[in-house]
Amino acid sequence: MNRDPSPFRTASVASTATSPTPKYANLTASTNLRYSLTRKSIYDRHLNRTKTSELSKSAFAFLFGEMVQYAQKKVYGVQDLEKKLNLHGYAVGQRFLELLLWREGRTAKRETRILGILQFISHQLYRAIFQKQADTLEKVRENEDEYMISDNDPVVNTYISVPKEMSQLNCGAFIAGIIEAVLDGHCFPAKVTAHTAPNEMWPGRTVFLIKFEPEVLEREALRVGS
């Protein structure tokens, strides 16, 4: 049996077992892991290739559902699960932020103020991911360091049914992770959490609560003074 170190090659190895074609047999023997079959790397792919392409909602719902299930196997409670989803979102956010700014080209700006970055998230970022703006962006009146972005019907929650014993869970934690990554990237360290906050119109309304670290406000205060 030809043992190939690549996990991506197993499919083609299996196919050669059933219908052996010399073309594949040759490749598995000679190529090393570094190169794909076409010998094209990620650097040969244009970053705008997928800019306008869309993903079907059912495919997304399936993948997201699988991701939640996978995460659920490895955690102890709701909080742990949300943290895991947050981390998954964080990795997406880090990449998406750079991609978004790259696509803006010469007009790309780094946001240096709290309000600027929050608007960037609720407008540009939200539109790039979900093709709509976030529904509201508010400041928490009681706390100086807290802001809220709300989404009336987050697409990630559409096909997730939460069991009764886990009523605390909101899979919007994934989006919260994306938001957190964008804030961190711009040097606005914050904790972002997703909370279910239904109203009469929107039973699935989710609020992302953003709590900035104290040094962010300190810096902001200095900038206002100067």
């Binding site: 650097y43 990795a91 880090q94 932020l97 700014l101 780094r110 040097c187 810096r219």
Partner: protein, 221 residues
Amino acid sequence: MPLVKTLPLDDVILTEDESTAVYRYDSGVVSFADLQIARGERGLKTGAVTISSSFLSPSPSHLSLDIVVVFVIIIMAGSSTSYYFVIIGTKDNPLYEAEFGSFKQGGDGIAKFREEQRHMNQFIAHSSLDCIEDQQWASKEMYLKTVDKFNNTWVSCFLTGGNIKFLLVHDTRSDEPIRQFFTDVYDLYCKTLMNPFYEVNMAIRSQTFDQKIKAAAKKYL
């Protein structure tokens, strides 16, 4: 440092490899222009002249009378520009570094840093991180232009949205080609980041990345 060639004119003393000259000045105020003239008269190599340090030492000829100011002039080897490029992560950790020379004006693209300059480049780049931290809040631009200057070397910086810094240490000023170079680097960095096995702050070891960076340098610098 062995001083072998003692030149009578203006007391300019050269080291063996002609990379450093020591200029003694006995009276009056010495200016940078004076040193430039001294250099021209001696027909030294065409390269940037830097006053790297000035110190006081007693003159052997006027032992008890006077104190002579000695300037050390460092003459950059070679005539073409050399560049040192480094990508710095969010925790001030280096992700990638490269050296290359200019292809413009008949350059061969090989960095001509002297051995002691090579590690100085790293120090210069590192010390400029503080300047960047100051300047990143004053402007919304990603390309911060030159952020720091050390003797005759400048440091240019490009700051991405994810707080990754691209630093270029160079000895000639030219904003526009450097901006174009950084734009290409940003493109390559984004592509690296799209790799699901790459995470932010990981060192970039891809050979393709290295080749593409060198190609961008050849195109613009």
